[in-house]
């Protein structure tokens, strides 16, 4: 919690720092800078145009004031744009007015104001001046004194014109006095009234020119002195200075921002490396834990095996000692040896189970209909489980198919039922159900999990004593068992677990002490009808009335086997005693096409029986059935003419395939 808060504080501080750097590193707005520069050059250009036009207007080269008005408008427009020159943007929204720039803008504005006032005076005075000059020209051309003094007047007019010429060239010189004197002289000439009248006007205009022309020239001089251009230049200098400083500052902060980014990148790289190292260490630790767990499992396994074998060895040694006792009769010795045999077979069964459990090879999987296989297994269970057990079944998946090994499925069912029998101590109810379920979303089970899809669900529920949580956790561990010594191997449920895992299924176990136990096994359901048909064709190759000799010491199993063989199209002949079977065989060895015999029988083992028959008829195929044995555990298989060893419980598919192989 404290670490989290510290982390939050550091992140916030970093955010603040980076934001601050970003804000300070923002360059002045380029568009505005360009606009200011444009305005500065517009101010300069308009001022220059204004000065040029003033000179032209003074000289009479242009005779309308529209260009001057336009120049003033241009200056004012430029000024409006320059009013924001002082607004240097610092950051995203923050604007700072530079007082220096602002002052210079104000000075430029004042200069333009002054310039405009001068210009208005210039326009007025210049218009009057130009007007008077035009009039002077007009009158000089037209008026003539119509009297005897004509020549004198004409001479004086010439003098006036001359003086005016000099005056316009140099308004401040003595020509001014000459013009005035000339006008005075003309006024004193005796003349007619209409000449006097028009001369009066000439006189007024002449004197007006003398008065206004110096004023206009003064105005022109002032306008050409042009404070606005000076002010514009100053403003430009100050503005560029301020702008340059702002840019330099922004660049400095940008460099800082970059440095911060580099530092952060380095820190992230460092954290990444450290994370990697941590992950490696964690992996190591996990691997060691795994190893330890494995060792523990091996220990449990070894302990379980040792315990089992210890019991068996105890039995063997005990019976052997009794058999060797000198007081023992022949019958007693035989009984003891039989017990030793039983114990040995039991030890062989343990080994077989260990091998099954540890077998790594993937069984041959193929699609098959679940319900038929389950029903067959339940039939077998009915004969092998105590009659006191109430076995109920509800099979509701007639079309469901799955991919896998039917024998292994049956093994799962039988192991679960054995477990249930034990839990109910043989006097309870076991409900077996088969149905299909659709799983819409991921579902966690007690052992494993389901992804969405359709599943075949096989459930076995009992009303036995149930399990507590610690027991429930360990039920799939090898050699973990609650049965008393000698009654369980501790490999039943682990085998179930292995089979289910190999079929990509999952297991859900619900149990509580006194409330019974419910196993639910989920297998993925498939749609592959074609594959199944092929498998069934091969599996259910039917017989053609061949006579099969079936030998098993269990009467119920013989009956079951006979039914199965008859169904498959064979002619079964069953015996529950191997001696009787051999006797029947001796009567007519050619009668039988194949012999199917159990291995473990009290009077004569299947192998002995096979060997005896083989001697009588060497071409006879013999198939050995066994509850436990793998091929390695049956001795003298070839000597006895045994073609194949198949496992109990018998599956019609397996039996049909096997018989087909050896009959044809």
């Amino acid at each position: 919690m404290t670490a989290l808060r510290t982390l939050g504080l550091i992140a916030a501080a970093l955010m603040l720092l980076l934001t601050y750097l970003l804000v300070r590193s923002t360059s002045p707005d380029a568009a505005r800078h360009q606009r200011v520069l444009d305005a500065l050059s517009a101010a300069t250009l308009n001022e220059a145009a204004l000065q040029r036009d003033v000179l032209q207007a003074r000289a009479g080269l242009i005779r309308n004031y529209d260009p001057l008005v336009r120049s003033v408008e241009g200056l004012r427009g430029a000024l409006a744009d320059l009013r924001m020159a002082g607004w240097t943007t610092r950051g995203i929204a923050q604007a700072v007015i530079d007082p220096d720039v602002e002052r210079h803008v104000a000075r430029l504005a004042a200069a333009i104001e002054e310039q405009e006032a001068l210009l208005e005076q210039f326009k007025s005075r210049n218009a009057i001046l130009q007007n008077s000059l035009i009039f002077f020209l007009h009158v000089s051309q037209q008026s003539r004194p119509l009297n005897e003094n004509e020549d004198a007047a004409a001479i004086e007019m010439g003098t006036l014109a001359n003086a005016m010429l000099r005056f316009t060239a140099d308004p401040r010189g003595e020509a001014s006095a000459d013009v005035a004197a000339s006008l005075d002289r003309l006024a004193q000439l005796p003349a007619q009234e209409d000449w006097r009248q028009s001369f009066g006007t000439l006189d007024v205009h002449g004197r007006l020119i003398m008065a206004v022309l110096p004023v206009v020239d003064d105005l022109v001089a002032h306008l050409l002195a042009a404070p606005p251009s000076e002010r514009t230049k100053e403003l430009q200098q100050v503005y560029l200075d301020v702008h340059g400083r702002a840019v330099a500052q922004a660049n400095a902060f940008r460099t800082l921002l970059y440095a911060a980014a580099i530092l952060l990148a380095g820190y992230v790289a460092f954290l990444f490396v450290r994370l990697q190292a941590n992950a490696r260490a964690l992996q190591d630790r996990e691997a060691r834990l795994h190893q330890a767990q494995k060792l523990e499992a091996v220990g449990t396994l070894a302990g379980g095996i040792a315990h089992e074998f210890n019991n068996i060895l105890g039995a063997i040694l005990g019976h052997a000692e009794m058999a060797l006792s000198p007081r023992a009769g022949a019958a007693a010795v035989r009984r003891h040896v039989e017990q030793i045999m039983t114990a040995g077979q039991r030890a062989r069964g343990v080994v077989d189970q260990v091998l099954t459990f540890s077998r790594r090879s993937e069984p041959r999987h193929h699609p098959f209909a679940v319900q038929a296989v389950a029903a067959e297994a339940i039939d077998l269970l009915r004969v092998s489980l105590p009659a006191t057990l109430d076995l109920r079944m509800t099979l509701r998946a007639p079309d469901a198919r799955m991919r896998g090994d039917p024998a292994q499925l049956q093994q799962v069912l039988m192991n679960l039922c054995a477990n249930a029998t034990h839990a109910t101590e043989g006097r309870g109810t076991v409900d077996i159900a088969l149905d299909t379920v659709a799983v819409a979303s991921d579902r966690a089970l007690s052992h494993g999990s389901l992804s969405p899809g359709r599943y075949v669900r096989l459930s076995v529920a009992d009303n036995g004593h149930g399990m507590d949580a610690p027991t429930l956790q360990r039920i799939f561990e090898p050699f973990f068992t609650t049965k008393e010594a000698g009654r369980g191997t501790g490999l039943g449920l682990p085998t179930v677990h292995g089979v289910v895992a190999a079929h990509h299924g999952a297991i859900d176990v619900q149990s509580a002490p006194g409330a019974g136990t419910r196993f639910e096994i989920y297998f993925p359901q498939i749609d592959d009808r074609a594959g199944e048909e092929g498998a069934r064709d091969a599996a259910l190759r039917r017989g053609e009335g061949e006579t099969i000799l079936l030998v098993d010491d269990e009467r119920d199993l013989v009956r079951l086997g006979e039914e199965m063989l008859a169904e498959l199209g064979f002619e079964p002949v069953g015996f529950d005693d191997s001696t009787l079977a051999l006797a029947a065989f001796r009567v007519d060895p050619q009668r039988f096409d194949l012999v199917l015999t159990d291995e473990v029988m009290p009077t004569m083992t299947g192998t002995e029986l096979a060997a005896a028959m083989h001697r009588l008829r060497p071409d006879l195929p013999v198939v050995l059935m066994t509850g436990y044995a793998g091929p390695a555990q049956i001795d003298h298989v070839d000597d006895a003419g045994i073609r194949e060893v198949i496992r109990k419980p018998l599956l019609s598919a397996n039996v049909a395939a096997c018989l087909a192989r050896h009959l044809h």
């Binding site: 005779r63 010439g158 006036l160």
Partner: protein, 324 residues
């Protein structure tokens, strides 16, 4: 001989002015109105003619600026909202955008400023923004227009902008004289052409120049003769120089444009005369120090009549003057 010499000398003095005047006219033809937003012009026209812009809906802009006539109201002085005459004659609103300042005194630089002053003036439209905007906001038609053009309800800025945009469109191109300037033969009569030459040679053109024949400078009214003096008043007039310096401020007017002058009688800031000829004579006397021969005045008037242009394809006319 001597006279010839004098003439040559004087010619020499003014050579530059004369030489240039032959090459470049001091006046220029009107260009048609610049590209303006048609929707704004349309809205401005509605506002211009809408009496809701005044208190009690008595006056619209068009009351004093009749666009069917010369863009003025034909009165010596316009009548204010209180029924009393205002201080000045109403100048024409046509070609107003070509004037560098507005009103007789030239006291406004922009149409927006001028329009606002008229709207709020207690003697003219006598409204307030609050009142005006609420009245406009109650008209669905206006609400829709303002929303479409300015994206909001009527506001000070948008009302002034629409009005000014409309007023910028009030250009009267294609006058006889403009066609003449553009070289169209026979666009004006020889008498008018002669009048134009007199207009230049008497010096009228010194102030009435440029595209608008004026409207781009200030000038004191009454340089050589006092136009305010009653004819019976016998006291000695001050000299032109005294007038230029001393009383310039009070007598300073914006030189009015002469475009459409023939249809914008009566003349001068106080509307003292309905006769264009008399106006020309007064101007010559007071501004040029000249008394013009009647013949020359007639010719100049004929020239001035060629300055009447077209608005919406129709030559401007002054119904009041025709009735006289």
């Amino acid at each position: 001989m001597v006279r010839i010499l004098a003439v040559i000398l004087i010619w020499f003095v003014f050579r530059s002015a004369a030489a240039v005047s032959a090459a470049v006219e001091p006046v220029a033809p009107l260009e048609p109105a610049a590209q303006l937003d048609a929707a704004k012009v349309h809205l401005g026209r509605k506002l211009f003619h809408d009496p809701r812009l005044s208190r009690d809906n008595r006056l619209s802009c068009a009351t004093c600026h009749d666009l069917r006539a010369g863009g003025d109201d034909g009165r010596a002085k316009s009548i204010g909202i209180d029924g009393e005459p205002l201080e000045f004659n109403a100048p024409t609103v046509f070609n107003v955008s070509g004037n560098f300042r507005l009103n007789w005194r030239g006291n406004f630089r922009s149409l927006e400023e001028q329009n606002e002053s008229v709207l709020l003036n207690a003697r003219i439209m006598n409204t307030t923004w609050r009142e005006l905007l609420s009245k406009l906001g109650d008209v669905p038609d206006y609400r829709e227009d303002f929303r479409a053009i300015y994206g909001g309800s009527p506001a000070r800025f948008s009302v002034l902008d629409a009005l000014a945009t409309f007023e910028r469109a009030l250009i009267t191109p294609n006058s006889g004289f403009d066609r003449h300037l553009r070289g169209e033969a026979g666009a004006i009569s020889p008498a008018a052409e002669q009048g134009y030459q007199l207009f230049k040679s008497y010096g009228c053109v010194a102030c009435h120049q440029g595209t608008n024949f004026g409207g781009n400078l200030f000038q004191p009214f009454g340089i050589f003769d006092d136009p305010f003096r009653e004819p019976a008043d016998g006291h000695a007039a001050p000299s032109p120089l005294e007038r230029l310096s001393g009383e310039a401020g009070r007598r300073l007017f914006r030189v009015p444009s002469l475009r459409n002058v023939a249809v914008t009688a009566p003349y001068f800031h106080n509307g003292r005369t309905n006769s264009l000829a008399e106006a020309v004579e007064i101007m010559a006397r007071s501004q040029l120090g000249r008394t013009l021969p009647k013949h020359d005045v007639r010719l100049i008037v004929q020239f001035l009549q060629t300055l009447t242009g077209e608005y919406e394809g129709r030559l401007l006319s002054d119904p009041d003057r025709h009735q006289q």
